[in-house]
Symmetry: C2
Subunit: 218 residues, 2 copies
């Protein structure tokens, strides 16, 4: 693997996992020594991160990890609604109904997963991943896919701020089942509506986490 690729993947993971929290200054020599590559591939990695909006220039001197807090959740979810509703609509028009009715079934019977142990919860998350993948493939639009991917990087980062609980996961599973069902039925409008509902519920849950944190802190 190329050195620039290794540096990029390492930095990306460090940022997404909050090991490099917002505001962290990324000096070139420092990071190149830490990652064991020279400055040239490191600069390429930093350039890719900047293009994704994960880093930003810092008063003319170096780059910093961009701010991200629950304050950004509203903006992020507005974009997410635009992209994912469109994606669900297109999938409803173009996807294979069998794939999505199968996914719907799995989500409907996901109650056992979200109440189980960590491994079972991992299974649930991979099920969500499979629905996303199926939509990505069915919508058959490379530009929309590209936009979604760059959005998801930020979503991964912000998701770490939320604590999920069994009740929310169960509700989420039902919402996902509805989305899959609407796509399987070929109903574009319903698929978009189900996605809107799901995203609003997710956002509300995310914000309720914030209130808890504020109360805990005070």
């Amino acid at each position: 693997m190329r050195a620039s690729e290794r540096a990029y993947l390492t930095l990306l993971e460090d940022i997404l996992e909050w090991r490099l929290p917002p505001g962290t200054v990324l000096a070139e020599v420092e990071q190149s020594e830490r990652l064991g590559v020279s400055r040239t591939p490191l600069r390429e990695a930093l350039g890719r991160l900047a293009a994704e909006g994960l880093t930003a220039p810092h008063s003319g001197r170096g780059v910093v990890v961009t701010e991200l807090s629950l304050d950004h959740a509203d903006e992020l979810f507005e974009l997410r609604e635009a992209l994912e509703c469109k994606a669900a609509s297109l999938a409803a028009r173009r996807g294979n109904p069998l794939v999505f009715s199968q996914l719907q079934k799995e989500f409907s019977s996901a109650a056992v997963l979200v109440n189980g142990d960590e491994a079972a919860k991992g299974n649930y998350y991979s099920l969500v991943q499979r629905l996303d993948d199926a939509i990505d493939q069915s919508m058959d639009n490379s530009y929309l896919l590209q936009s979604l991917k760059s959005l998801r990087v930020h979503l991964v980062r912000i998701r770490r701020l939320a604590k999920d609980n069994p009740e929310r996961l169960l509700a989420s599973a039902m919402e996902h089942a509805n989305i899959a069902g609407a796509i399987a039925a070929g109903d574009a409008q319903l698929a978009a509506a189900c996605t809107t509902v799901h995203l609003n519920q997710s956002l509300n849950h995310l914000k309720s986490t914030q209130h808890q944190t504020e109360r805990t802190a005070s």
Copy 2:
């Protein structure tokens, strides 16, 4: 100005103006000599172009300017509808009505512009630009703005394939007036609907250009 910035801007313009058409191979030494910079800043420029989807790796040997033809218009406009409808909705909720009712008036009286000479047509295009800018500012969402900007790069490129005529420009002006009016009225749903109408008309016009070209070629 930095050498990498110059190289980036020059290559960007060359690609958008079709001086570097799709499929053109961009060899590093060749381009660095052409632009009078060394390979290091040139590589940074190429990296930025690749992040925007304007270039893509070419079977292990250099990068090529990505394909773009009217075949991509459908995909591009699907993403555009998702983003611009959302943008118009948000602007309707958050924008200053006075700004948009002023823009509506200007679009309504734009008939004299589109029938005029080249300079007058330039005025019309800058009016469209002002509406876009007003929406960008009013929607107040940096993530959505970022997505829109990366989309617009491709739209600039594909717009060169379309020939505009006075009838289309006049209709376009009316459609823009409707969008501005809906935003001024604070009607998010109507603003989105007007945007959908406008984009469908634009896409149809773009495709009719294609048919003419095909008939001309045969």
